[in-house]
Structures are given as C-alpha cells and as structure tokens.
Symmetry: C2
Subunit: 394 residues, 2 copies
C-alpha cells in the first residue's frame, strides 16, 4: 500500500542532514555546556553556532533566542513570563479567538491570578482585523498576542499591522509563529514583534526543542527556577543534540524555503481543487493568505475522526485539527470562531505537505478520499435527513 | 594527551545502545503520538514502552510517569504544581538547606505568591536529620521536599524516614532523585514517596528528557497550559526519540546497576584515598552513605575554578559544584550549609565517575592533581599567610 504522510502540521520528519549534525552530540561530544572544561566548551560552541542559525532564520540577534523544549513551552513562557514582568503597568491582555490552546489557556491561568483579557474575533477566513485589535486595547493592556499563522486553517495573519498597533499603545507584542517559522519568511525586525515562538519539529528539525525570540530590552519572568542557563531565562540542562538539530534545520529552512514552497504550493493547490469537487465541501482558512504547505477543509455531514481512520486504512495520514487536542475529539475552537456551524466543524480535515510529497501522492489522496466520504455519508443520519429533505421525503 | 571525563554529575555520555534505540524515531517513525493514524500509533506505542521501562526503574506504574524536558522542569513541576494543587489546605513548605536550586528557587517563587517555607539544616555531611523535618512541619505544611542524594557532595539522604514523617503529618512528599535514579536503587513504593524527579542524562540517556513520578491520587497543577498530552499534566509535543532513549537507558540502568556500582565504587575509593593525601584536603559529604560514583573534596587555600582549568589542560574534566550554576562562580550553598567556611568552600572539587573509567584513569588524576594544587598554592596569598604563620613569620 502507498504510504502518504500529509500531517506535517502535527510534526515533520527529521531530515538526514539534521540527524547527521546531531549525532556527534550524543555519545562523543556529550559535555554539559555549563561545565568549565573542554567537553563543556565543545558543547557550548555547538550551541552558540545553533543559536546563530536559529537567530538568522528570523533575523534576530543570537542573544535574543531562548531555547525551550516545545512550541507550547515557548508560548507559555512568552504569555506568562511577559505578563508577570509587566504587571505593575497593568493586567489586561489581548489575544485573538483562534490562538493555539498554549496561548489561550495560559491567559486563562493568568486570569486566576488577577489578569483580564479580551478575545479579538476573526472573519470567516479566521483572519484578525487589526482595527479590532486597536479597539480591544485598553490603557491597562500590557500584552497583545496574535499568531503569525493558524496551524488548523493555514491563514496568515496581518501581524505587522497588529504589532504596530500594539507598539503605539505601549503594549508588548508576541506572535506564535510555530506553524510559520521555517516554512514562510518570518523577519522579527520587519514584523516589529517583541517576542516570537518557533518549534524545530515544524521545519524538519527534532521534537523536544523549540525557541522563543525575545527582543533585547523586553523583560520576562522565567517559567523554571534553578540554574542560570539561557541567560537566567530558562533553567535546566541544555538539550545540546536537539539544539544543534534545530540549528541545522533552521539553516536548511532559510536556504531552501523558496524552493520548498515552490514545490509544495502547486501540490496543495492540486489537492484543494480536487477535494472541492466533493459535494458539500468547503476550504477553511484564507484562500490566498495561507501557508504554502497547508490545505484544510470541512466535509459536511461526517466526522473528521472517522475520515482519518478510513484514510489511515488507505495509508494516508491527515488530521482534523491541532494534534495537541486531537484525542479530546471536540470541535475546533478555531472553526467555531470563524463562524462554521458546530455540525460542519465536526467534518474538519487538514493536510500538511512535506518535502517528500509528489503529484502522484495528491492524485492518490484524490482517488481514495471521495469513496471514504461516500461511505461515511451513507452511514450519516445528518446526510440521510438532508437527502430526504431535498427530495421532499418527510 | 589522556582524556579523562570525570564530570558525570554534570551529564553522562549517551550509550551506543541508547542512541541505536532512538535513531528510528527521527527520520523514519517520526509521527506525533497524539495523531490519529498509524504514524501516530507507532510513536505512541514506542512512548508507552519507554514509559513502562522508566516506571520499572523506580517500581512505579506507567501512568504515574510524566515525561518532562529536564530534571529542573520536573522539580519545578513538582514543587509549584503540588503546592498550587493543595494550597487550600495550607501554604507552608518544608525543604532541606541543600536542595538543588530548581527546588530552592521554586519555593522562593511560591513565597512571592503567599507561601512560606522552612529550611531544614543539615549536619557536617550534608545529611538531613529526619527529626528536624518533623520539628519543621506545621499544621499548614502541605509539601515536604528533601532530595534523595546530593549531586554536589554525594550524600544519600534518609528519604524513607522523612517520607514517613511527612505522610503521618498529611503533607505530600517529593524527592529530587535526579542524581540517584539510574545509579542507585530507587523504589518509590519502598521509599513511600508521593513524587520523585529523575533525569535521563544522569544515567547514560539523552539530554532534553526527564520525568516526574507522581503517585496515583496525588494532585498537580500543570506548569504548561495547552494540549492534553501526558494526561493533561504536561502540554506540548512529546519528545519521542528522547523518551525512547530514556526508556532504553532506564532498562540498561536497572539491569546493570549493581555491576556499574561494583566497577565504580573501588575507583572512587582509590581516588578518595589518593586525594586525601594532599595536605589540607577534606572529603565533602558522607564517607559511606554516598553515591557509588561520586567523590567530592575541598582543597584548602585555592579556588575550584582554577583547579578545573589546570586539570582541563591535563585532559581531566571535573567540576566544582552544580553545573547549573558553575558559571556563576559563587561558593556552593550546599557546602556552606554543611558548615564549611566560605574560604574552604571555594576550593571545591567534584568527580563523577562513568562506566568508561579505569584504575589507570584514577592514577593519572592522582599524578596530575598534586602538582596543580602545589602550583596554585604557590600563587595563593591565603596559603602564603598560613605558611608564614606556621613558621612564625609575621
């Protein structure tokens, strides 16, 4: 059976060059970068090099990069760390209604500690209107966080405009760029952001390593107390092989970004065109302002999880939303926020393309998906009701 | 030049078998364990297997293991998470004076949120007297944390006795077993602990992965908000290769623990015997109740960092305390707590033995160390003063 992995928003394959770069740091150059000897020096130099590469990917300075373990940790550190550092100025936070739960629930946790928040709505494409952010900002707003792109529906948000509004209002601006960084150009200076989250496993780097960019001068209360690693901002033994892998992945992403997008975007468009031929299917997210490797749909009258199971039996890996909550089997807050009815949101189907994919893979998906949809609709009471209503049967 | 790595308390080498076990999970079996397809299933099965192996190392149930990124994260999660979960019962915490900064500073952070704490003193071996813990416990004590062993001076603490005292008082008991787990027998049931931290890089597993044991029924507020990974207790994409590596390292540690101790303890004793022949040198920590791979000293009249530099020039890696704070160049709070004067504490020197070491390595260290000490003492104003005083020179 053909095996077609199209779940790159959940995680990507580690590229061979990335793994090769990591390998010496397990059993040979295994020092702790905090140690005062040559084993430590080797590890520290490798980390410095990786830090420079990750910084270069987003046009930051190396000392503005804090290595963490996951995008979720980066988002928690940004939201909780910045809010706590600036709480004497005010305790109000503005975020969009389509943020990842690591942002959204961090804000909820802060609300238990006396903070308040405003959720900015989105349009039918899950796009934030910067003027809505401007309206949500109050005198006591200390932090605004709007994601760079949405991993569930692929929409790229107008972050530059929002960052300028936050800056004018004197609030710190953070963006969750986990789905974007390494896949589309992300330039912290051009965007004018104060903090930005990125994760290696979204651009062919390893799991277990991510980063938070924090602009020089922006304060942050650490999540972890302990040692003085990462300039005192992230205690704990550094994950040297992971960090080296993230550095290599960042270097490759910077070099190959345009070529990868040129490869994947036509495949994505071919898939979108084919899937939309299925009756009662819609594209979710923005049709053009979207990640080049991202295609997402709602297929009416059926459930996403059932589609995933049947696609999996055909060797196709996809998802129905954020992997972080896929086992919770709830309708996506992103789809609901963009105005999709609850029943339709259940039929969410999301494909993330990786550099291994070919036009043949897309054709294969377009061959196996329609029968899957037909089979599930045959079993669907909702579809049955719809057909009967259409044919005037009571 | 001979290369002798004796800094295994800072971090260990990843064993070849451990790396081999990890390798498939980078570029082949790269699924996200939260995903609903076969790539996700493979990753989840590998994680389940690793979880069972880590649980077996400490005689826990697999569902009592939460994977984290570092021992520091495990300690932060335990201290902050348990304190927050039980704060309606009381807000007092008892810890020892020789805890790692990830415990000690977590408690300080909680003090800013209305908690209070009592620091239990230690004796000249850095050993806690359980009756001091009993005296420190109040009616509003909700959490007691005393480490299983001290990474700086090697002393193994009477955790079983302390856990029983905490239990009787109705407080949750956590132990930081980062230096112990995988090196000496640690059995959560026999010890009677409620929570226990361990880290893979302390027993030949990779950096970037650690765990927290939490006994069934013990509550915990997560550090990270976001997805529902690790039973909702640790959000964020799972570090599958790291977790698989920790599983393999735990399996090997369980199997080889006695053999490793039998190899390393005589080497350690040979080193202790030799180093104590140096004038004005003392062993720190307990002479017998200590980690089998741990030797630590204070060498009077000189500074630990200078010794490390000169030893490094001879190819020997050692440390002068916790790697987490080695670059802070401050006298160790552990040495000060056990009553060593500030000046003597500066001359701290710590060796952690790994399974690659031989008697020849020890002899080499005993050959190069005395001249290093002599050379530094020649430059030491303190030593000069001492010699003059001894010879009656003003």
């Amino acid at each position: 059976m053909k095996k077609v992995y199209l779940d790159n928003m959940a995680t990507t394959r580690v590229l061979p060059e990335v793994l090769q770069a990591m390998l010496p740091y397990f059993g040979e150059l295994y020092g702790n970068p905090s140690s005062l000897h040559s084993w430590g020096d080797e590890a520290r130099e490798a980390m410095d090099e990786a830090r420079a590469k990750v910084a270069a990917l987003i046009n930051a300075a190396p000392e503005e990069i804090i290595f963490t373990s996951t995008g979720t940790e980066s988002n928690n550190l940004a939201i909780k760390g910045i809010a706590q550092a600036y709480q004497e100025k005010g305790k109000h936070i503005v975020i969009s209604a389509v943020e990842h739960f690591s942002v959204m629930h961090s804000v909820k946790t802060l609300e238990k500690r006396g903070f308040s928040s405003t959720l900015v709505p989105v349009d039918k494409y899950a796009m934030v209107d910067p003027s809505d952010v401007a309206r949500a900002i109050r005198k006591d707003t200390i932090l605004v966080s709007v994601m760079h792109s949405n991993g569930e529906v692929g929409t790229i948000e107008p972050v530059k405009e929002i960052a300028a509004i936050a800056k004018k209002a004197g609030a710190v601006f953070h963006t969750d760029a986990v789905a974007s960084a390494g896949n589309v150009p992300v330039d912290v200076k051009e965007l004018g952001v104060d903090a930005l989250s990125l994760a290696a496993n979204q651009f062919y780097g390893p799991k277990g390593v991510a980063a938070l960019y924090v602009r020089r001068g922006v304060r942050l209360v650490p999540l972890f107390d302990g040692g003085i690693q990462e300039g005192g901002r992230r205690a704990g033994t550094d994950n040297v092989p992971g960090i080296v892998g993230m550095g290599k992945a960042a270097e490759l992403a910077k070099k190959d970004m345009a070529a990868r997008a040129n490869l994947l975007q036509p495949l994505r468009d071919r898939l979108i065109e084919g899937v939309l031929k299925i009756d009662h299917s819609i594209l979710t997210g923005h049709p053009s302002a979207r990640l080049p490797h991202h295609a997402s749909f709602c297929i009416e009258f059926i459930e996403g999880e059932a589609m995933l199971m049947l696609l999996n039996l055909q060797g196709v890996a996809a998802s129905s939303g954020s992997a972080c909550t896929s086992r919770a089997l709830k309708a996506s807050h992103v789809l609901l926020a963009k105005g999709i009815p609850h029943a339709l949101a259940q039929g969410s189907l999301l494909f993330g393309f990786g550099v291994d994919r070919t036009a043949g893979d897309v054709d294969y998906v377009l061959e196996v998906l329609p029968p899957v949809v037909d089979r599930l609709r045959e079993m669907s009471p909702l579809y049955d009701k719809y057909i009967k209503a259409r044919h005037g049967v009571a």
